[in-house]
């Protein structure tokens, strides 16, 4: 796009023309520098024709549409790749937030809201740029699969089916993983009644005969460097040490001490993380399927594991069953809590419930008079597995009860299990030959980084403790995703799950891995900003190497070069703009989203300097949940305070504090941030954005204090997408706080 040619359009439909003064809006646009035309249905064929005519005749390429929310009618207002469309939301956030006055006149306050949105849209159009996607020089489409169990093999097969090559790296000498040890597997088809023969051998054969799959057994990954589309993996013999092992994370402070010789270098003898192994193999993306290990249950002393001979774990019992015959009277204990609590063993879930059912069946298969007791606090058999549960329950020799197991003792030649609070209404003493504890499935990521990335932020996934160590980033919102773009987790490393679930999971992860490769290939972002062509652009001449961006990036997209200047890896980037918000030098910008653009939009709001009734409050709204919630509030025709102006931001993480200063210095009376919930059960679409923004706001409060402004003028609110009916009240309360503080003393200067 050589030169921008602007065209501004105003829609008067959907009630906009009924409550707003259209001529005044048009003259607002003119004074801002753009002549504006109006139409009663801009998204209709006739309205679009009006715009298309201007594109054809006047060469308009930058279009301002002041109408509905940018979240709707996106196809209607898409005029092709050579044009930019900027939307001013004067419907959901202006026309639909109130009505005319009692006299039937246009509400002055509401009109000012709409006029400010027109100004903002005009400024935005002036400041935005046509994005040019970032493209790697070469793109590698091979998928690296870590782990050759059910998950890994399924992922490789699914990738192969979609036409992508895959390499499986398996630590053990053979493929199959844990499933090699199962005697039988859960039913997979109607009527979900009988246990099935283990199908792992078939899967192994399928993998081995697939020309697109390479298998490397007795191997593991030393390190993975690079970025999606261009990962370099160093593969080594399992258990060996090499100079290409992934270096541990070293903070700036630690590095200083290491340099002074005060601290031993943990990475001595290892290649630096930025160094690329010339002998490494390149891959486009990675599927993490490293699975799990059986949990240790010896901490529960009352159950006697490790002390009493015939107290075993479910994994040990499976081996026993695979190798031969199991005892006739067996108690399966699903929860260790005794009287204290009803939690299951750690790292348990429905799988361990179903394993107990399966193993109870072994007891019956192997013994004519077999008796299997299952004492549970939770019996979880989701979906069709309910039918499996029903089938097992029908067995005369399988006895189920909820209950708290208070102890296991040796008595005579056997064992006695004591259980309280059972369904039988009494405490029970069960005489059995063997006790099986439902030990959980500990993901491999609990014990080691596993993924072994050569990243500045270290070799492991961050903050896995909030997911109990599972390789996860948000189970519901971001399935298979991790906080490392291009690395997708599936199977036992992501959640304790059954073979069937694992296969579904692996398919999902394989498709995610393919999506990532293809997104990198087209130079666009992956979920949640899928298709975004922009990426952060650094003006390095002014970089002070403060490292805030590299530290704060939730996805570890930035490495350091030799001088400590950020080294961007655009295909790792998810385009949240957290780096942009972090940068004190304000040198990080996107083509269509920049410090200057948002700052100018803030400044374009007209702030009356002499009217105490017309305070102005700027609200930065996260585009992911808060902005849609705000739109929904408009759709519900909730009245909204008319002193506030909303500006959408990519993520609160992209909030640069200079915008708050811009707002305050242009005389605005308050600033509010609305974004996703943060903390352990965060809803932030970029994991850390809202949390970081909140921290920055605490600091800006102090800065405002030194200027003589009340820190309370700035605040952060957490909004869920379902909070749309609470938003008007939330805004109202903040406005009332500001009204009590009084106008900004710097107003008019």
């Amino acid at each position: 796009m050589d030169k921008k040619v602007y065209g501004a359009y105003l829609c008067t439909g959907c009630g906009i023309g009924d409550v707003l003064d259209i001529d005044a809006l048009k003259s607002t646009a003119s004074s801002a520098g753009m002549a504006m035309q109006d139409h009663s249905c801009l998204c209709g064929a006739e309205g679009r024709a009006l715009i298309e005519k201007d594109i054809a005749e006047k060469g308009v390429n930058t279009i301002v549409v002041c109408a509905c929310s940018p979240r709707v009618m996106q196809n209607e207002f898409n005029f092709g790749e050579d044009t930019i469309t900027v939307r001013g939301n004067i419907r959901e956030q202006a026309a639909w937030i109130g009505g005319k006055t009692e006299n039937g006149e246009v509400d002055e306050f509401q009109q000012e809201v709409a006029q400010d949105y027109v100004r903002m849209a005009v400024v935005r159009a002036q400041k935005t740029q046509q994005p040019v996607p970032y493209k790697l020089e070469t793109i590698n489409k091979k998928i690296l699969v870590l782990g050759g169990g059910i998950a890994g093999m399924t992922a490789a097969l699914e990738a192969s089916k979609a036409g992508y090559e895959a390499t499986i790296v398996e630590k053990e000498g053979v493929l199959g993983g844990k499933a090699n040890g199962w005697r039988k597997q859960f039913p997979t088809s109607y009527p979900y009644a009988a246990l099935e023969e283990n199908s792992i051998a078939k899967l192994i054969t399928a993998v081995q005969s697939d020309a697109r799959i390479t298998v490397k057994t007795s191997s593991e990954v030393a390190r993975i460097s690079g970025a999606p589309g261009d990962f370099t993996a160093t593969i080594k013999a399992a258990g060996s040490k090499t100079e290409w092992d992934a270096p541990a994370k070293v903070t700036v402070d630690e590095q200083e001490k290491i340099d002074k010789g005060e601290l031993p270098d943990p990475n001595a003898g290892l290649k630096k993380y930025t160094e690329k192994n010339p002998d490494g193999e390149t891959f486009g993306s990675v599927v993490l399927a490293t699975g799990w290990r059986p949990a240790d249950v010896s901490e529960y002393e009352h159950l006697g594991y490790g002390k009493i001979k015939n107290v075993v774990t479910n994994a040990e019992f499976e081996k026993l069953a695979k190798d031969g015959k199991v005892p006739a009277k067996v108690a399966f204990i699903q929860s260790p809590g005794g009287k204290e609590h009803d939690k299951d063993f750690p790292y348990c879930n429905s799988v361990t419930s179903m394993v107990a059912l399966k193993q109870a069946k072994y007891v019956r298969e192997d013994n004519a008079d077999g008796q299997a007791y299952i004492i549970y606090q939770h019996m979880r058999t989701p979906g069709n597995m309910e039918m499996f549960y029903k089938g097992v329950q029908q067995d005369d020799g399988i006895f189920l009860t909820k209950g708290s197991v208070t102890g296991v003792e040796e008595q005579g030649g056997g064992l006695v299990v004591h259980a309280d609070d059972t369904l039988l209404g009494e405490s029970l003493d069960l005489q059995v030959d063997m006790v099986v504890l439902a030990a959980g499935m500990v993901p491999t990521t609990v014990d080691a980084p596993t993924i072994n990335l050569a990243y500045r932020q270290g070799p492991a996934f961050l903050d896995l403790d909030i997911f109990d160590g599972y390789a996860d980033s948000h189970f519901i919102c971001f399935p298979y995703e991790t906080r490392r773009t291009g690395v997708y987790a599936c199977g036992g490393v992501r959640k304790a799950e059954t073979m069937e679930e694992t296969m579904d999971d692996a398919t999902g992860a394989a498709l995610k891995a393919i999506q990532c490769i293809e997104s990198a290939n087209r130079g666009v972002a992956v979920h949640p900003r899928a298709g975004d062509q922009t990426y952060p652009d650094f003006f390095f001449q002014r970089c002070t190497q403060c490292k805030r961006c590299t530290e704060e990036c939730p996805f570890g997209a930035l490495d350091d070069d030799a001088k400590g200047t950020p080294l961007p890896n655009p295909t790792r980037c998810r385009r949240c703009g957290t780096c942009m918000g972090a940068c004190p030098e304000r040198i990080i910008n996107f083509a269509d989203y920049s410090i200057d653009m948002i700052g100018s939009m803030v400044k374009s709001v007209e702030v009356p300097s002499d009217d105490e009734d017309k305070l102005r409050i700027i609200v930065f709204v996260c585009e992911n949940d808060a902005y849609p919630a705000l739109d929904m509030s408009g759709m519900h025709r909730n009245n909204l305070n008319k002193l506030v102006r909303f500006i959408p931001v990519r993520c609160l993480g992209s909030m640069n504090m200079v915008w708050i200063k811009d707002a305050m210095s242009s005389g605005m009376d308050g600033a509010l941030l609305m974004g996703c919930k943060w903390g352990d059960d965060y809803q932030c679409h970029f994991v850390k954005g809202s949390e970081i923004a909140n921290r920055r706001m605490e600091n800006i409060g102090e800065t405002l204090g030194t200027l003589g402004l009340e820190p309370e003028r700035c605040s952060v609110r957490q909004v869920a997408i379902s909070d749309y009916d609470k938003i008007p009240q939330m805004i109202e309360e903040f406005v009332q706080e500001i009204i009590e503080l009084g106008p900004n003393p710097f107003k008019g200067f």
Binding site: D396, G397, D429
Partner: protein, 402 residues
């Protein structure tokens, strides 16, 4: 106090074959306890009984008064989300309990299975036939004698007028049968009572009620309640059953009275006034009552027959020998009794005598198998209801203790 669990797999199998085939389906949601009027806060009936049954804990079940108190209104089965049919399972438990408490064991086992039906019918048939042969009465009388004495000379006639020959032989058959039956019931009920007391933790009552106190305070109110059908009237799902059971029960009472009256007038007063022998006049109020009762009996059991058949056709009940055997026996008694009377009235000697023989067989079966078949509910349930009153009474619970 904890319970040492020893599941009895045979017991589970037994219940499954006696109509409780669905018992393992229960997943303890307690919907049954919500709808069951017998369920109380501390005693989630029949949810708990279902888990006992699943775990094969027969000692818990056979001594559980609630199992006997359940009159199978069917609400639990109707509302069960899992198709576990708790009502039918409880029926199976009762069937098992009657067998469990039954004495002699061989007879109890015999009466509990449809496979033994030939023997169950054959034994009384042979006994009566043999007695009939021994009595020398095995021949059809003249039409005139038949008209005059009816079946009064079935076993022949002798001149010893203090005890008619017929009465002697009937007593020879029925009295030992009734004696055995009553003794078996007494034994069974006392064992059940002991077990119930043990399970309810009332081993040592504060005071022991005397026999008359027991009857007055516990047994008689229970009998009154049974006759009034108070609990049946609360049924929703099985409301139709009242229409069958009430006439049936009343007809039994009426027929008991009629039989007693007849025995007294003929065999006691008849000693002094020989005219009292022979069939009663059709217009005698007692005879009218007898005929009305006979019809009520057939109608009542017919309604129960129809209800059960319909429920089985709808899949709401499982057909079992336990349930049908009693219906068949009562129907047999009613139909042969009435038919014998009809053939007497129209004077067809041969058919009448054969039907009368069958009537005797069916009556003997009813008495003989009473303690082991569903008919046993008559005594077990009555005493369970008495126990229900007893366990809440001041004999067991000191009113001062609470």
């Amino acid at each position: 106090m904890s319970m040492n669990v020893q599941p009895d797999l045979e017991f589970i199998k037994d219940m499954k074959s006696a109509g409780g085939d669905t018992l393992k389906k229960c997943f303890q949601c307690a919907t049954c306890s919500v709808v069951c009027p017998l369920s109380t806060d501390g005693n989630p009936f029949p949810r708990r009984e279902m888990v006992f049954a699943q775990w094969g804990l027969k000692e818990k079940l056979v001594g559980d008064p609630n199992v006997m108190l359940c009159h199978q209104c069917g609400d639990c089965t109707t509302y069960c989300p899992r198709g576990a049919k708790p009502g039918d399972v409880l029926g199976a438990i009762r069937a098992y309990a009657y067998k469990h408490f039954g004495w002699p064991k061989g007879l109890a086992n015999l009466a509990s299975s449809g496979k033994n039906l030939p023997l169950l019918i054959g034994m009384p048939a042979v006994i009566i036939l043999v007695v009939w042969i021994i009595s020398g009465g095995l021949h059809f009388p003249s039409a005139e004698d038949f008209g005059r004495y009816g079946y009064g000379h079935f076993f022949g006639h002798w001149d010893f007028n203090l005890l008619a020959k017929n009465v002697f032989f009937i007593d020879l058959i029925i009295l030992p049968t009734v004696a055995l039956s009553l003794y078996a019931a007494y034994r069974g009920v006392s064992n059940m009572w002991r077990l119930m007391a043990e399970n309810a933790g009332v081993g040592q009552p504060l005071y022991r009620p005397s026999a008359s106190q027991f009857i007055k305070e516990f047994l008689w109110p229970s009998v009154v309640e049974i006759v009034q059908h108070t609990r049946f009237k609360k049924c929703t799902t099985n409301a139709d059953r009242l229409k069958g059971h009430l006439p049936l029960l009343l007809s039994f009472l009426a027929l008991f009275f009629v039989t007693a009256y007849s025995a007294f007038t003929q065999d006691v007063i008849g000693i002094f006034i020989p005219e009292m022998h022979g069939p009663m006049s059709m217009w005698n109020p007692v005879k009218i009552l007898a005929n009305v009762a006979a019809i009520a009996l057939i109608v009542g059991v017919g309604i129960l027959w129809g209800n059960r058949a319909r429920k089985e056709a709808e899949g709401k009940a499982t057909p079992t020998f336990y349930d049908w055997f009693l219906i068949w026996m009562i129907m047999g008694v009613g139909v042969t009794g009435l038919a014998a009377e009809l053939f007497r009235l129209i004077g067809v000697v041969s058919v009448g005598y054969i039907i009368y023989y069958l009537h005797l067989v069916s009556v003997m079966m009813l008495f003989l198998y009473m303690p082991y078949t569903k008919f046993a509910h008559m005594v077990y349930r009555t005493f369970a209801m008495a126990f229900e009153r007893y366990r809440e009474s001041a004999y067991v619970k000191s009113p001062l203790a609470e």
